[in-house]
């Protein structure tokens, strides 16, 4: 049963996989959004959700378009929706998609629309954590992002492909391209995920964080991988990926200075990566719809950017928390309070 409300803002969701299906569930739950799903494949959403479906790739006129299709199709869909006057949210974490979407910045500004790039668990939530960490420092010099786990099958394929490709690493203003699978570092994630060896990989977080932190000197991004992951990364996937991966986690290690004293803050989160991505995307859609309804003050300006550039962690992190995705801080071995906490 589809609720017909002429005044309800419309959101088009491209792709109903592990991420898109959850976004559809969250948005339809509110009851005052006209949700249209553009999909023909297997659906990750309940069949009885109150929404209409149209063939995949159809750009229905809408207020906000969510792109949750597999990597490779995001830029063309985003351009169509921007030209049609919609704000766009892309959940792709593929570097090729992210660079292509950032190149639509001029088109988004010309259309006076917002194109949110890399709105997932990492990047996406890690961009929000980096923005949140900004409050602990006078100056941020280093940001190191890491993630563990995969979402749906498309995410697993992207993880597999990314591990064999060169990563992006900023060092003293210059971009380096470390070999995929190199740079092993043992990192600790929140909760049951615990420790994992993490490696350079083709991850888009540095590309999205660099414009948001003008003074940063070092940016890295690593992904947790096993020996088997690294060994088979240069081969085709030997077995079909699972419908959805296990619980994953993200962490952001931020280094900088507070009152002249060097300090480090480590923030993280634990969740199913597809669920985490869907929560972040839903929170971003809520912010964009608030603008459509005319109730938002400020908010992101027109253009294509990552969430750290929006400087809206104080809005988006609590919004994500209401859906169950909560940030954690690593307090060290002697339980010293986090900087700035009461």
């Amino acid at each position: 049963m589809v609720a017909e409300n002429a005044n309800a803002p419309r959101v088009t969701i491209h792709g109903l996989g592990a991420v898109g299906g959850r976004i559809a569930e969250y948005l339809t739950r509110s009851g005052n959004i006209d949700v249209v799903a553009a999909t023909t494949g297997a659906s990750g959403a309940d069949d009885d959700l109150p929404m209409r479906t149209v063939p995949a790739g159809t750009c229905v006129p809408c207020d906000v378009a969510v792109l949750a299709v597999p990597p490779g199709h995001h830029a063309s869909l985003a351009q169509q929706h921007l030209e049609a006057g919609a704000d766009v949210v892309s959940v792709s974490d593929a570097v090729d998609d992210i660079t292509a979407l950032l190149e639509l910045d001029a088109a988004a500004k010309q259309a006076d629309r917002r194109l949110a790039v890399g709105v997932a668990f990492s990047p996406g939530y890690t961009c929000l954590l980096s923005d949140h960490a900004n409050r602990y420092f006078d100056e941020i010099s280093e940001i190191h992002v890491a993630k563990d786990g995969t979402g749906g099958p498309a995410c697993a394929r992207q993880h597999h492909a990314a591990l064999k490709r060169q990563g992006w690493q900023l060092r003293d203003g210059s971009w380096l391209r470390p070999t995929g699978g190199s740079g092993r570092e043992l990192l600790w994630f929140p909760g049951a995920v615990g420790s994992a060896d993490c490696y350079h990989s083709a991850l888009g977080s540095p590309l999205l964080l660099e414009p948001a932190f003008a003074d940063v000197r070092r940016l890295t991004a690593r992904v947790a991988a096993t020996r088997r992951d690294r060994f088979t990364s240069r081969l085709p996937m030997l077995t079909p990926p699972h419908a959805e991966g296990a619980v994953g986690a993200v962490r952001v290690e931020v280094r900088g200075h507070q009152a002249g004293i060097p300090d480090t803050v480590v923030l993280g989160a634990i969740d199913y990566p597809a669920r985490g991505a869907a929560i972040v995307a839903t929170a971003v859609v809520d912010v964009l719809l608030a603008r459509v309804r005319g109730g938002a003050n400020g908010g992101p300006g027109p253009g294509a950017s990552g969430l750290a550039t929006w400087r809206m962690a104080t809005t988006l992190l609590p919004a994500c928390a209401t859906y169950g995705l909560k940030p954690h801080v690593f307090e060290g071995s002697f339980a010293q309070p986090a900087p700035g906490s009461s």
Binding site: L317, P318, H328, V329, F330, E331, G332, S333, S342
Partner: protein, 48 residues
């Protein structure tokens, strides 16, 4: 004579080593291995 000279040097070397070890022992407190800390969920008030 040579034997006495070697013994004297050995005694001096042991004395210097003992003095350094003693100084390091006094400077480092040792302490108790950490038994708390780790990850903590941020409260709503810390997010705004």
């Amino acid at each position: 004579m040579i034997v006495f000279k070697m013994l004297r040097r050995a005694v001096v070397a042991l004395g210097v080593a003992s003095a350094i070890a003693g100084a390091l022992r006094l400077r480092s407190g040792g302490g108790v291995p950490p038994a708390s800390g780790g990850w903590r969920e941020l409260h709503d008030s810390e997010l705004r």
